[in-house]
Amino acid sequence: MSSRAVTAASVVDAGLSPYAPSPYLVRSRTEETSDIATLVLEPAAGVTMRPFVPGQFNMLHAFGIGEAAISISSAAGPSGELTHTVQSLGPTSKALFSARPGTCIGVRGPYGHGWPIEAAVGKDVLLAAGGLGLPPLRPLLYRLLAEREKYGRIEVVYGARTPKHLVFYEELQSWRARNDLRFQVTVDVAGREWYGDVGVVTTRIPDTRFEPANTVAFVCGPEVMMRFTAQALLARGIGPDSMYLSMERNMKCAIGLCGHCQFGPDFVCRDGPVFSYRRIGPYLTMREV
C-alpha cells in the first residue's frame, strides 16, 4: 500500500472493467478506537469523484491485498468529501485501517440502494445504530439536519460495546448538545468512569419519543441488534413498511453477479444494502439464510 509504488496509470483500466478501482489518496486519518479509523479520501489526479447518496457503499481496494465493502460515512453532496470508517478485522481491513495520509487506495462504487430519505419527509424519524452501524447512518443524519424543517422529531439511539468503542466521539458531543435532535448514547457494559446510560440499544427504545403511526425508522448494526431493535420498534407501533435496515453480507463483486451476498431472494449488494423490514424481516430469524 505504498503511495509511491502505486500510480493512477497502473490501476485504472480505462473504465472497461467493472472491477477496476479508481485511485484515491488518503487525505487524513482519525483513529476512532484501537481498531477503527476514519479515512478522508480525495480522488487522485484525473479521477472524478462519483456522487453518492446516504447508505451506499464503496469497494475499497488495498493494493496487493484485497477488497472490502465499506459504507460511506460522510455527508453526500456535490462538494462533499468521501469518508470511510474502517474496522480492522482481516488482512484487507487491517491494511485500510492502517493507511496513512498520502497512501493510495482503490475505490470502486458507489453501490447499492441508500436510505429512502423521501419516505421520512413530514414524519418523525428514529435512527438506531449499534457499534459500527453509526457510520452508514452518519450521512443520513447530516442530510436530515441539513434540511431539518422537513422532518418532525428526530431521535437517535446509538449503542456501543463499551465507552472506548464509541466512534465520532467529538461529534457525539455536538449532536447531543443540539436542541432540534435527541441523541441517546448507551454502552453494553461500563466501569465507574462512565456516567452515561448502560444497556443495549433496545433498552433505550422505550424512552424514545415519536408518534408511531407517523414515524420512519432507520436501523443499522450487527444483525442480532437489528433483529431485536426491529422487534422493539414493532412493539412501539412502527410498521414493517416504515422501518429500514442496512444489511451487511460478504460482498465480493458488488454488482449482483457473484452471489456471495445472497440473502433470501435478494443480493445485498444489488438489491440493498438498505431493505424495508417488510422485505427482509422474515429472513432475519432463519438459520439457513
Binding site: 449499534g130 460495546r161 457494559v189 465507574r192 444497556g199 443495549v200 433496545t202 450487527p222 441488534m225
Partner: protein, 156 residues
C-alpha cells in the same frame, strides 16, 4: 400502617408505570408498606448478597446495576431510571440480592417492604398473578438485553 403513608407516596405509586392500573387491593397492599427514599450519588439501594426484602419503584434519577468481578472491578450492566423497577430476588430463594444497585445521579424511589406483598399474594393469588404479569416482561427484557450483550460481544 396505611394511615402513615403520605398521600403523595400513594399518588406516586399509583401513577408509576409499573403499578398503574393494577387491582386496587394490590395497590393498597403495596402502598401500605411503601416508603419514599432519596439517594445521593454513590449511595447504594441494595447490595449483592444481602437479604432481598424490598422492591423499588424508581421515581427519578438514575441507578446503575453493577456486578463485581475481582479482575475487572465493578461493571455496570444496565442503568435504569424513572418508571423502572428494581429487585425480584425476594421472589426466589435464597432471597438474596444478586447485583449491586447504586445511584449514579440523585435518585428518588419508593421502597416497598416485600413481606406485605408476600402476605397479600398468599391471600389473593389472583393479585399475585397480576403482579407477575407486570414483572415477567421486565425480566424478559433484561434477559433479552443480556442475550444481546452476549451475542454482540464478538461482533460490535
Amino acid at each position: 400502617m396505611s394511615s402513615e403513608v403520605p398521600g403523595d407516596v400513594k399518588a406516586a405509586l399509583a401513577a408509576h408505570a409499573f403499578f398503574k392500573g393494577l387491582p386496587e387491593g394490590l395497590l393498597a397492599a403495596a402502598t401500605s408498606a411503601a416508603r419514599e427514599r432519596s439517594y445521593r450519588t454513590g449511595e447504594f439501594l441494595l447490595r449483592e448478597g444481602r437479604a432481598a426484602d424490598e422492591f423499588f419503584a424508581l421515581l427519578d434519577g438514575k441507578v446503575a446495576l453493577e456486578m463485581f468481578a475481582a479482575d475487572r472491578l465493578r461493571l455496570t450492566v444496565q442503568t435504569v431510571g424513572r418508571g423502572d423497577v428494581i429487585g425480584w430476588s425476594w421472589l426466589a430463594p435464597p432471597h438474596r440480592w444478586t447485583l449491586d444497585a447504586i445511584a449514579v445521579k440523585p435518585t428518588r424511589a419508593i421502597a416497598i417492604d416485600v413481606s406485605a406483598l408476600r402476605g397479600h399474594f398468599a391471600a389473593k393469588p389472583a393479585d399475585g398473578y397480576e403482579f407477575l404479569l407486570r414483572l415477567v416482561p421486565v425480566l424478559a427484557s433484561r434477559i433479552q438485553a443480556l442475550e444481546m450483550q452476549l451475542l454482540e460481544a464478538d461482533v460490535l
